[in-house]
Every structure is written in structure tokens, then in C-alpha cells.
Amino acid sequence: MTAAPAVRRYAAHPFWQAVGILVLAYIVVVWVVPLLPGSAIVPKSVVLQYMVTVLVGLLIYVSDNEERWARFKEPIEAVLVEPRLRVARAALLVVVTVLVGLIAYGQVATTVAAPPNLRSIHPAPPTEITFRGKSITLTGLENPLRAHPESLPLYLAEGKGVYYRNCLPCHGDHLDGQGHFASGFNPLPANFQDNGTIAQLTESFVFWRVAKGGPGLPREGTPWNSAMPQWEDFLTEREIWSVILFLYDQTGWKPRRWETEPGKGESGKGKGDD
């Protein structure tokens, strides 16, 4: 028997097709995706998720048709019963046992790695905060400075001053989170140019984050190793509002509005923290 027909025979067999696609999917997820420009390694949890999805898809493929299902099962049954495959059977038995043992060991072995964490980048804001002892209701709150359109240039100039005096070292000259100190932080300072930060938020949310900074966030927002200070200790309410004004003006984003807020997700089909 020459090599080519044998390969072709295997390639046409549903069992080996399934194995091949599984291996291919693994190669793509683990090695090809990180090679793409601007990409990075895929976390193990996501690899597992993708592989399970592919596996389920393959099982559906091999079993949605009687004939294919029967052919798919052939090699499995052969390994389990045929006398000539006694070696393969024994090897399989050993491999499966060892694999289960290894997985079980990996699950219970003690490690010193930090636990994986979920962090929601935009935790739910409180309805009300206390800013220097004064209660501020965040719900429905607009930037009060916008109520005086004639003075906006003045406020913007003021906000610019506040930004360059306080925010520049981390959030950078281009408001892109690439300040001089940025590389020293994990998580990185927010990139306001990105459409995933202030572009997604109401100004009152930004006010809350500037005023309260990293400490004291709700549990879902931790571990918030953020170096963001509690700016309420250093800036006045007006200064914070003016710097927010500056952020939106400079980046060109529009703050999320209240009235027409239709919910960023749908409970039936929406999800997560985008």
C-alpha cells in the first residue's frame, strides 16, 4: 500500500477527520493566534472554552447522520475489542489513566501563583457619593459646567491646566495612557482615546472614578491594583468637572447620555462589560 491512498483513506474517515480538526483548532488557538499582529497568548481558560466548543461541534458533525456515526465509532470499537489491537488497547488504558491522574494532580497540587481574578473594568457606580462630605447624586447627573455654554472655553482652559498639572505623568500627552510612568503600572492607566473607556461612560461615572480613584471600590471592581489616587483629596469639584470636559473635548468622544440610554446589553442576548 502506498502512502498517498492511505492518507486519503484516513482523511475521508470521520474519526480521523475529527481528530485532525481538533488538532488543527488547537494549533490555531495556541500558536497561530498569538502570532497575529498585535496579539498575545490566549489564556488557558479561553483555550479550554474554544476547544470544548470545537469538540461539541465535531461530535455533532459525526453523529448527525447514521452512516457517518457508524463509521466514526468503528475505530473506537475496534480498539476496544479487536484482538490484534491488544497493544493499542493497553496503551490507551495507560494513557487515559495517566491523563486523569495528571489532571487530578494539577487540580489539587499547591501552587504559589496568584489566583486568577475577574475584574470588571467598569463596576456599577453607586447612585450617590459623598464628595468631601457633600452628597452628590450620580444618577442622571450631567456635567454642571455644560449648563454655561458661554464659559466653556474658560472651563476647557482650566481643565487643560488641571490635566497637565496632575494627570499627564500617567495618562500621557496624547491622553492615550502612555505617560512617562505608565509602564510601571499594572493595570495600565486608562487610554482615553480608546473607544472602550470614557466613550462608553456618562460624565457622572467619570466623575466618580476621578474623585474616588482606586481605593474602596466594590468587590467586583477588585483586585483594583490601580494607582489612581482619590482626587477628591487634591482637586475641587469644579476642577474635576472641568478636566472631564477637557478629556471629552480633546479626544472628540461624546459622553454617554442619560435620556436615550437604551441599555448597552440585552438581557436575552447581551453580555458583559464592553
Partner: protein, 574 residues
């Protein structure tokens, strides 16, 4: 410090005798189980009459006795599940009154009269149901049959009102009208004002549809069990068909459900943005990843069932080669749909990714990608169904070829619109992007409606390639129906947790605070155990109740000839 102390005393006074304790599992778990199992039974009991009435109508107006038998069999399931609903409802009320007496007193102060109305309507509903079922054979033909059918309508009417009343209580807990504060005396709250709160109608509509989905799924599971237990080919054929109908009802109603969910989510956001963020982006954000996984299971299993089902349709071989492409779209869709935006990663991976967002795959984790994926999955499922429907016919109308091409173009157009807005969503601000999902949805719905209309017209007088060989199904297709039923039930529990959990430590959002020791909202792991437990209790009871139904009387399936009454009686044996 005195202030602190006073607050402490106040809290203690609030808590004294406000809460009871339940042995072993605790008060919250007890109420959770009672409410959830009651709700599952209630959903079944409300969903099934809807399609029982439709099935009866098809039987009457389409002169197809098969549907009439089916409707009666649905109703028989209903009858036995009905008392279980009432029992669990009573358990829930007793648990609330004894474990949360103070909060219960508050609710009764606000909603008292509506509770009396509820009891009265429940009474009407029960007796209408008895009349509907036991009058089936008496008013079988002619004018009385129409009267009987209107009894079914009446049954639905009572059920819907009863559900709307109960919904008002729980939506009030989520979104009490804004003018009600912690100091408002509950006795002064106008009843209608409390009932007509922000999320009442969205929940009503959402539950109405979800009940149909759920009823269909449970009926399908019932049929699949009877299929597996069947001993004759005729019986198998009947239950195969019943399972197919149940599954069809469930999946088609499921396709509409996200839009009702969208409306509900929107109302929640408009009512209180922080509640909305808690739900979608806060501590519950991972709940939606789990939900995505469950929905992916539903899509894949639903399609799987259809594809296996093609095996019993002569002529379906023509379409078989295409199912693998549909499968590829579905798997890719499930991958995108399940990609989390904030990934679980250890410190090394986090460092490599520069944060918990993957620099490349993170793009798949945002709304635009997910809406695109799910809309394409809906389209694919619809296409699967269309192929299934078309399988044993060959259209004979002269414009068949161009009709098929128009249908194809519509699919392409809808997919194009979905992809276009999905990609464009990355380049616009949030508020515009949210609007895009509406266009995507409209494109998909429009395609579904238009293609169906064309298909029905085209199917007129179509040449048949042979009747569907009902009953010629491998057992694994029936197990797929079980997975669907379990997944639907679990999903219902999960969504219930989401709806109830976003209230966090409030009985009534920002009006009545939960000061019990169970005030914290549990993590997803604990919730999932509770949900699994509730599902297990429900399925066990439902299985038992159905078994009882089979024990007490003969199946409505009447085998022709010698094997009279094969279905029901035989179940005694196993």
C-alpha cells in the same frame, strides 16, 4: 460614636422578628427553592394551554384529528401539573409569611386587594381547566366543539391575568415607582401605581413568550421519553411527531425571546443605570458568559435535532451536504458568542496580554461581535429549519427557481446587513452602536418573515417526495431533546437569579432594605448549585406527575387495531 451606636440599635430593632430561620438550608435557600420550583410549574401550566388551544384550533379548522388528540394530551399533562403548581405556590406563601414576616407584611399592605383578586382568578382558572379537560369528549363535534375551544381561550385569559398580577409584585420589588421612598407608608401607596411600574409590562411579555418556550421544551422531553419507552412503531411515530412539535414551538418562540429581553434590559437601564450596570457589567457580568454558553448549547442541540430528523425524510439527502457549513457557522458563532471580554487569566497571562483584555480576541468580546454572532446563529437555525421543511417536497409553481433565488438573496442581504453593522459598530460611539443592534435584529426578522411567506406560497401543491417516516429516529435525537429541556429549565433558573439578584441587598430596590443575614447576593457558584437543585426537584416531580398521569388513564394516543391504549398502561411495569 453615639450616632453609630444608634444606627446599630435601629438596625437591631429592624431585624428583630423581621426574619425567621429555616433549618439546615436557611431562610433564603428555602424561599429560593419554593419560588423557583413554583415558577417552573407555573410557567409550564401557563405555556401549555397556549399551544393546546392552537393545536385544538388546527384540529378543528384543519380537520386534522391528530392535532386534536395532541391538544388533549397536552391538557392532560396540564391537569396533573396544575395541583403541583398550587402546592408550591402555597409553600412559597407560607415560607414568605414565616421566614420574611415583616417584608411580607409590607407587600400585603401594598398589594392586598390584588392578592384577593389573584386567589379568585386562580379559582376560576382551575375550574375552567377541569371543564376544558373533562368536557373534551362530551363536546367533541360541531357547535359544542367551538364552545369547548372557547373554554380553552378562557383558560388562557385567566392564566395570563393571574400571571400579570403576580408579576406586578415582583417587578415592584425591582423597580418601585420613583416617588416611593423608605419612609412612604405602604398603606398609602395606590395599588395601580404600584402595579404599573417600569418593568411590569416588559416582564409580562418576556414571561409570556418564555412560558411558551418552556412548555414546548418540557412537552418535547415528555414525548421523547414516551418515544424511548414505546413498544410499537405507531406509538413511536406519534411521540416522535409530538416531540418534534414541542421542540418546534420551543425553538420558534425562543427566537423572539431576545427582543422581549432587550426591552426589559432597556427599561431596567432607564429606571436605574447602576442597576443596569450591575446586571450587565458588574458582579453579574460572568452570568452572561454562562448564559451565552447555555444559548450556544440550545442552538447547537436544536439544529442537531433537526439534522438528525432529516434522516427520516425522503428527499432530505439533497440538503445533507450543506448542513456541515451550517454547523461551521454555528460553531464559529458559538466561539465568538462565548468569548469573554474580561478573561480569566493568571498573572503571567495577564502580563502578556497587558491587562485582562486580550489585545486581539478582546475585539470578539464586545457587543458588536456578539450581536453579529447571535444574529447569524438565528439566521442559520432558520435556514436549517427551512431545509428541513423543504426536504420532502419539490415546488411545482412556475416561479420556483426564481423564488428560491429571491430567498437566497434575502438570506445574503440579512447576513450582509448584520455583518455590516457589526463591523461598523467598532467605529462609532456607544449610543449609536446600541441603535445598530436594532437594525441587525430587524434585518433578521424581516428575512425570516419574508422567506417564510415566499416558502409557504411556493409550497402550494408541491410535489411530495414521500411522507415523513415518523418514528424513524435514533435514540440520541431524543436524548438531545432531554438536553434541551434541562438547558431551558436551567436557563430559566439562571435568568431568575439575574433578575432577582440585581436588587442586591434590597427587598424593594432602595425602599425596603434586606437586613437579614442573607442580605449579600451570593456568587454564581452558589447560585448554580441552587439552580441545579431546583431543576432537579422540578424534573423529578414532573417526571413523577407524568408517570402518575400515565398510571391513571390511558394515553390519548389510540393505536389502531389490537394494541389499544398501548402508551399509558404499559408504564406501570417499568
Amino acid at each position: 460614636m453615639t450616632e453609630h451606636l444608634l444606627l446599630g440599635l435601629q438596625a437591631a430593632a429592624d431585624t428583630t422578628r423581621a426574619y425567621g430561620e429555616f433549618p439546615l438550608i436557611g431562610a433564603r435557600a428555602a424561599v429560593w427553592i419554593a419560588a423557583e420550583v413554583h415558577l417552573m410549574f407555573a410557567a409550564f401550566v401557563l405555556g401549555v394551554p397556549m399551544f393546546a388551544v392552537v393545536a385544538e384550533a388546527i384540529g378543528i379548522f384543519g380537520k386534522d384529528q391528530r392535532y386534536d388528540r395532541l391538544a388533549k394530551e397536552f391538557t392532560r399533562l396540564l391537569l396533573v401539573a396544575y395541583s403541583a403548581t398550587a402546592i408550591w405556590g402555597a409553600v412559597l406563601v407560607f415560607f414568605l409569611a414565616t421566614l420574611y414576616p415583616k417584608f411580607w407584611a409590607y407587600l400585603t399592605a401594598v398589594f392586598g386587594p390584588s392578592m384577593w383578586a389573584y386567589a379568585g382568578l386562580f379559582f376560576c382558572e382551575s375550574f375552567t381547566l377541569y371543564l376544558y379537560y373533562y368536557g373534551w369528549d362530551r363536546w367533541k363535534y360541531g357547535r359544542p366543539k367551538l364552545g369547548h375551544w372557547s373554554l380553552g381561550l378562557l383558560l388562557n385569559l385567566w392564566g395570563t391575568i393571574v400571571m400579570f398580577i403576580a408579576n406586578s409584585w415582583l417587578t415592584y420589588m425591582m423597580t418601585p415607582p420613583r416617588d416611593i421612598t423608605p419612609t412612604t407608608d405602604p398603606a398609602t401607596i395606590k395599588l395601580w401605581h404600584a402595579i404599573a411600574n417600569a418593568t411590569w409590562m416588559p416582564i409580562n411579555v418576556h414571561r409570556l413568550i418564555a412560558n411558551v418556550v418552556f412548555g414546548g421544551a418540557i412537552v418535547a422531553a415528555y414525548a421523547s421519553y414516551r418515544f424511548l419507552a414505546a413498544k410499537t412503531d405507531e406509538e413511536r411515530a406519534h411521540y416522535d411527531w409530538m416531540g418534534y412539535v414541542g421542540n418546534f414551538i420551543a425553538i420558534s418562540a425562543l427566537i423572539v425571546l431576545p427582543f422581549a429581553g432587550y426591552w426589559l434590559g432597556r427599561e431596567i437601564y432607564q429606571y436605574d443605570q447602576s442597576m443596569g450596570i450591575t446586571m450587565m457589567g458588574g458582579f453579574m457580568s460572568w452570568l452572561w458568559v454562562i448564559q451565552a454558553f447555555l444559548i450556544a448549547v440550545l442552538f447547537l442541540t436544536g439544529n442537531y435535532y433537526l439534522w438528525i430528523g432529516m434522516g427520516r425524510i425522503p428527499g432530505a439527502e439533497r440538503f445533507r451536504p450543506y448542513t456541515k457549513y451550517l454547523l461551521i457557522v454555528l460553531v464559529l458563532g458559538a466561539i465568538v458568542w462565548g468569548t469573554p471580554h474580561t478573561m480569566i487569566a493568571d498573572s503571567k497571562e495577564l502580563a502578556a496580554m497587558g491587562g485582562s483584555h486580550h489585545p486581539f480576541l478582546g475585539a470578539l468580546g464586545v457587543m458588536s461581535a456578539k450581536n453579529t454572532a447571535v444574529n447569524l446563529m438565528i439566521l442559520t437555525t432558520f435556514l436549517s429549519f427551512l431545509l428541513y421543511r423543504r426536504a420532502n417536497t419539490r415546488p411545482v409553481v412556475p416561479w420556483a427557481k426564481s423564488g428560491t433565488m429571491i430567498q437566497g438573496a434575502m438570506f445574503a442581504l440579512a447576513a450582509g446587513v448584520v455583518l455590516f453593522y457589526g463591523i461598523r459598530g467598532y467605529f462609532v460611539e456607544a449610543i449609536v452602536r446600541i441603535g445598530f443592534s436594532v437594525y441587525q435584529v430587524l434585518a433578521v426578522l424581516g428575512c425570516i418573515v419574508a422567506v417564510t411567506v415566499i416558502d409557504v406560497l411556493m409550497g402550494r401543491g408541491a410535489q411530495s417526495l414521500g411522507a415523513i417516516q415518523w418514528g424513524k429516529m435514533p435514540p440520541r435525537s431524543q436524548y438531545a431533546l432531554f438536553i434541551l429541556a434541562v438547558t431551558f429549565t436551567w436557563l430559566m433558573g439562571l435568568m431568575g437569579f439575574a433578575r432577582s439578584g440585581i436588587r442586591q441587598y434590597w427587598h424593594v430596590w432602595q425602599v425596603v432594605q434586606d437586613t437579614s443575614k442573607y442580605a449579600a447576593t451570593p456568587a454564581l457558584g452558589y447560585a448554580s448549585k441552587m439552580i441545579s437543585l431546583c431543576v432537579l426537584i422540578f424534573l423529578t416531580l414532573v417526571g413523577f406527575v407524568f408517570w402518575l398521569g400515565g398510571l391513571a388513564e390511558k394515553s390519548t394516543f389510540v393505536a389502531t387495531g389490537d394494541r389499544e391504549g398501548g402508551g399509558g398502561g404499559r408504564h406501570v411495569g417499568h
